[in-house]
C-alpha cells in the first residue's frame, strides 16, 4: 500500500542512490553481524552474556542506552508527527527526552543496585518467588511485542520505500530476512554485542542528523522565524501549525487528550524493559549516573535534530506530499533529508543521503535486536532458570539463545500479518503498558517500604489488563479514516491513549493490593525492605540477601577505595 505511493512520491531518488543504499545496507548488515560474533561472550559466563560485565565506559554505555531508547518508531514516527502536526509533534519529542531524564533522576541508580539481569530480578529482590518473576516476564513480553511488530513491519515498508520496490512479496521477504538478522544479533552478541551495534547506530544517526539539520537551517539562512513561518505556510494549516491542538483536534476533549497522551509518553517511555535492562550493565551507581548523563544529552540532541528535520520536511516538501507518501508521515524524516539537497544531486550529496538511509536502517535493526534480547533474557532468566534449583550456566545461556528465537519468530509472523495496517496504536499500546503497569511497579517496589507481593501482582496484572481492555476502544484503533480499522467503529473511549484512566488505576491497584494484604504482611515487607535498604540506596553488599556471588567482587574491584 505504502510502497506503491512511496515510489511515485520519491521520483527524485534516482537509481544511483538506490544502488548505493543497497550496497550500504548489505555492508552494514555484514559488518554488524561480524562485530556481534567478535564481541559476543566467549566464555560460559552469565554475567558476561546478560550484562557484558559492566566493561563499557560510561560514555559507551550512555550511547548504548540512547541507542536502545531512540528506536525506529521514534525516529520515523516522531519525525512524521512533527511534519504533520508541528507543535504537538515537537512536544512529543520533548516528552521522549524528559522521560529518559526522569528515569535518570528517579529510578536508574536504585534500579541498578537492586537488579541483576532483568526486571524480574529487580522486583524479586524484595519479594522472592516464581509468581513475581513469571508475571514480570509476561508483562515484559506484552509491553515489547507491539513495539517489535511496529519496527519489523516498518522495516519492510522502509526498505521498499528506499530501494524502490513496491511488491508485497518483497516487503514480506524483507521482514523475514531482517527479522532473522535481528534474532542472530540478540542470540550471538548478547548484551555486549548489541551494545556495540547500538553505539554504531546512535553515532551514525546523530552524525548524519546534525549535518542534515545544519543544511536545513542553512537553506533558511539561520532565520528561525522564517523557517517556522514557511513550515506553517506549507502545512496548509497556517499559524495553527505552530500551536497546540492540531493532532488531537478530533476528540470531544482535545486538551485533556493532549495532556494525558504526553504524560503517558513521559511516564512510560523510559520504563520499558529494553531500556531498564541497560541500567544493570553499569558497574556501579556512579557509572549509571554518568552513563545516563550521556544518554539524556544524546537524546536531547536528537530532539533538536528531529524537530529541525521534521519542520524542514514540511517547509521544503509540503504537508500534502508527506501525507500522500505515508498517512502517518513515517517517511517524513527521509523526505526532509532528501529535499535538502534540491533537484540535482551531486555524488557527495548522494553519499550523504545514503548515510542517512543507512542510519535509519541500522536503527531498525538495532532497536528490534535490543527488544528481542530483553524479552529473551527475561524468558530464560525469570521463567526457565528459576524452575529448577540450580541451573548450569551453560544451559541457561543456551536457553537464552533459544528464547531469542522463541520470541523473534512469533514477532516476525505477527509482523507480516499487521504490516498493512496503521501501526500507531501498537506504539501507543507499548507506552501505555509501560506507564500503567511497569512504572508503578518499579516506583513502588523501589521506594515504598510496605509494598507487598499482592500489591505488586495487582499493579502488574491489573494495569496490563486495564490497558488491554481499554485500548481497542481508543481513537487510533477505529472510527476514523486514519485508524487501524478504518471501516469499523467501536470507538467508545474517545482518547488517543488509555493513560488518563489506566495510570491512576495502576498506582491505585498497587496501593489497594498492599492495604488488602493486611498489616502483618505490610510490617513483614517493611522489615525486609529495611534489611536491604543499604543495598538499594548505596549498593552495599549484605551477605544474607543472597546475591553477593555475582556483584561483590566486581564492585570491590571497580569502586575507588
Amino acid at each position: 500500500m505504502t510502497g506503491a505511493t512511496a515510489t511515485t512520491a520519491m521520483t527524485g531518488l534516482r537509481d544511483s542512490s538506490q544502488t548505493m543504499s543497497l550496497v550500504a545496507f548489505t555492508t552494514v548488515a555484514t559488518i554488524t553481524l561480524l562485530l556481534c560474533v567478535m564481541t559476543g561472550p566467549d566464555r560460559d559466563d552469565l554475567d558476561e552474556f546478560y550484562t557484558g560485565y559492566g566493561s563499557l565506559s560510561p560514555l559507551r554505555n550512555g550511547l548504548a542506552i540512547a541507542g536502545d531508547y531512540i528506536s525506529a518508531a521514534s525516529v520515523l514516527g516522531t519525525g512524521g508527527v512533527i511534519a504533520l502536526y508541528g507543535y504537538d509533534g515537537m512536544v512529543l519529542a520533548l516528552s521522549t527526552a524528559l522521560s529518559l531524564m526522569l528515569l535518570m533522576f528517579l529510578l536508574a541508580e536504585p534500579l541498578r543496585n537492586a537488579g541483576r539481569f532483568t526486571m524480574g530480578d529487580a522486583l524479586a529482590r524484595r519479594m522472592p518467588g516464581r509468581s513475581v518473576r513469571i508475571v514480570a516476564c509476561a508483562v515484559t513480553i506484552t509491553a515489547l511485542m507491539p513495539l517489535m511488530l511496529v519496527q519489523l513491519a516498518g522495516a519492510g515498508q522502509l526498505l521498499a520505500f528506499i530501494l524502490g520496490f513496491s511488491s508485497e512479496w518483497f516487503q514480506t521477504g524483507c521482514i523475514i530476512g531482517l527479522g532473522a538478522l535481528m534474532i542472530s544479533y540478540a542470540a550471538i552478541g548478547g548484551m555486549k554485542g548489541t551494545a556495540l551495534i547500538q553505539i554504531l547506530k546512535i553515532v551514525m544517526l546523530l552524525g548524519s542528523g546534525i549535518v542534515i539539520a545544519v543544511l536545513v537551517l542553512n537553506r533558511f539562512h539561520w532565520d528561525l522565524g522564517a523557517f517556522f513561518d514557511t513550515a506553517a505556510e506549507r502545512s496548509g494549516a497556517g499559524p495553527a501549525f505552530l500551536h497546540s491542538g492540531l493532532e488531537f483536534a478530533g476528540g470531544p476533549s482535545p486538551r485533556l487528550d493532549m495532556i494525558s497522551s504526553q504524560l503517558t509518553v513521559v511516564l512510560g517511555g523510559a520504563c520499558l524493559p529494553h531500556i531498564t535492562m541497560r541500567m544493570y550493565t553499569a558497574s556501579s551507581a556512579r557509572q549509571v549516573r554518568r552513563s545516563m548523563s550521556w544518554a539524556v544529552s544524546s537524546v536531547a540532541l536528537f530532539v533538536v535534530i528531529v524537530t529541525v528535520v521534521g519542520f524542514g520536511a514540511t517547509a521544503l516538501v509540503g504537508r500534502a506530499t508527506i501525507a500522500r507518501a505515508d498517512p502517518q508521515g513515517n517517511t517524513a524524516y527521509l523526505l526532509g533529508s532528501r529535499a535538502v539537497f534540491g533537484a540535482d544531486v551531486s555524488t557527495t550529496e548522494t553519499l550523504l543521503f545514503t548515510t542517512v538511509t543507512t542510519a535509519v536502517f541500522l536503527t531498525l535493526l538495532a532497536s528490534v535486536a535490543g527488544m528481542i534480547l530483553a524479552c529473551a533474557n527475561s524468558l530464560a532468566h525469570d521463567v526457565f532458570a528459576t524452575r529448577v534449583q540450580e541451573m548450569p550456566v551453560r544451559r541457561e545461556m543456551t536457553l537464552a539463545r533459544y528464547s531469542a528465537l522463541a520470541v523473534g519468530v512469533p514477532a516476525i509472523l505477527l509482523a507480516t500479518l499487521v504490516q498493512h495496517r496503521g501501526l500507531q496504536p501498537l506504539v501507543t499500546l507499548s507506552f501505555c503498558l509501560g506507564a500503567s503497569a511497569i512504572a508503578p511497579a518499579l516506583v513502588y517496589s523501589l521506594f515504598w517500604r510496605r509494598y507487598t507481593r499482592t500489591g505488586l501482582l495487582s499493579t502488574l496484572i491489573g494495569g496490563t489488563l486495564a490497558v488491554l481492555l481499554l485500548m481497542p476502544g481508543t481513537n487510533l484503533v477505529s472510527g476514523s479514516p486514519t485508524a487501524a480499522f478504518p471501516d469499523a467503529d467501536f470507538n467508545w473511549f474517545p482518547f488517543t491513549t488509555t493513560g488518563l484512566v489506566t495510570i491512576p488505576l495502576g498506582f491505585a491497584l498497587g496501593w489497594l493490593g498492599t492495604v488488602a494484604s493486611g498489616r502483618k504482611k505490610e510490617e513483614e515487607q517493611r522489615r525486609q525492605y529495611e534489611a536491604m535498604e543499604g543495598w538499594i540506596l548505596a549498593g552495599a553488599v549484605r551477605r544474607d540477601s543472597g546475591g553477593t556471588h555475582a556483584e561483590t567482587p566486581h564492585d570491590r574491584r571497580k569502586s575507588p577505595a
Binding site: H243, G245, M258, R286, R289, E533, A538, T548, T552, S559
Partner: protein
C-alpha cells in the same frame, strides 16, 4: 581497601576454633627459647546492624531530597508547559522576538534546561550522596568479610 585491618594473607591464621592439639600449651623442649606468643585474638569493632545505622538514615534523607527536588522540578516545568499549551493558547501564540511564537520558544528552551538539570544533578550527587554511599558500602563490605571469617 587500604585501611582494612586484616590483610588477605592473614586469613589463614588461626581463627576462633584452633586445632585440637594446639589447645594445650606447647611443650617447651628448649627452655632457653622464649615461649611463642599467644595467637593474636581478632578484635572486631562492634557495629550495630546495618538497617538502623544512622549513616543509612542520612543517606536515605539525602537521596530522597535529591530525587524529589529534581523529579518534581522537571515534571513540574513540563506540566506547566503542557497546561499553558492547552489552556492559554493566546499567550503561547503571541510572538516575542523574531516571529517565533512563545510556545515554541518555551519548548526550545527546555533543551538547554535539560543539560543544566543534568549537570546540577550530577554535582549534588557527587557532593552529597556519593561520600555517604561509599562509607556505607565499605562498612557493609567489612561486615560481610567479618561474617565470612567466622
Amino acid at each position: 581497601m587500604s585501611y582494612d585491618p586484616y590483610p588477605p594473607h592473614d586469613s589463614s591464621a588461626p581463627g576462633p576454633h584452633p586445632h585440637p592439639h594446639e589447645s594445650s600449651p606447647p611443650h617447651l623442649t628448649y627452655p632457653w627459647q622464649p615461649p611463642p606468643p599467644p595467637p593474636e585474638r581478632r578484635r572486631l569493632p562492634r557495629r550495630p546492624a546495618l538497617g538502623n545505622h544512622s549513616d543509612l538514615r542520612i543517606l536515605r534523607g539525602a537521596y530522597r531530597r535529591q530525587r524529589r527536588v529534581s523529579t518534581l522540578t522537571a515534571l513540574g516545568y513540563f506540566c506547566l508547559f503542557l497546561g499553558l499549551s492547552a489552556f492559554a493558547p493566546s499567550l503561547m501564540s503571541s510572538t516575542v522576538t523574531d516571529g517565533v511564537p512563545t510556545g515554541l520558544l518555551l519548548a526550545l528552551v527546555q533543551l538547554p534546561v535539560t543539560w543544566l538539570a543534568i549537570a546540577h544533578y550530577e554535582r549534588t550527587a557527587r557532593r552529597r550522596v556519593d561520600p555517604l554511599a561509599d562509607r556505607i558500602r565499605k562498612q557493609a563490605e567489612l561486615d560481610a568479610r567479618r561474617e565470612a571469617a567466622r
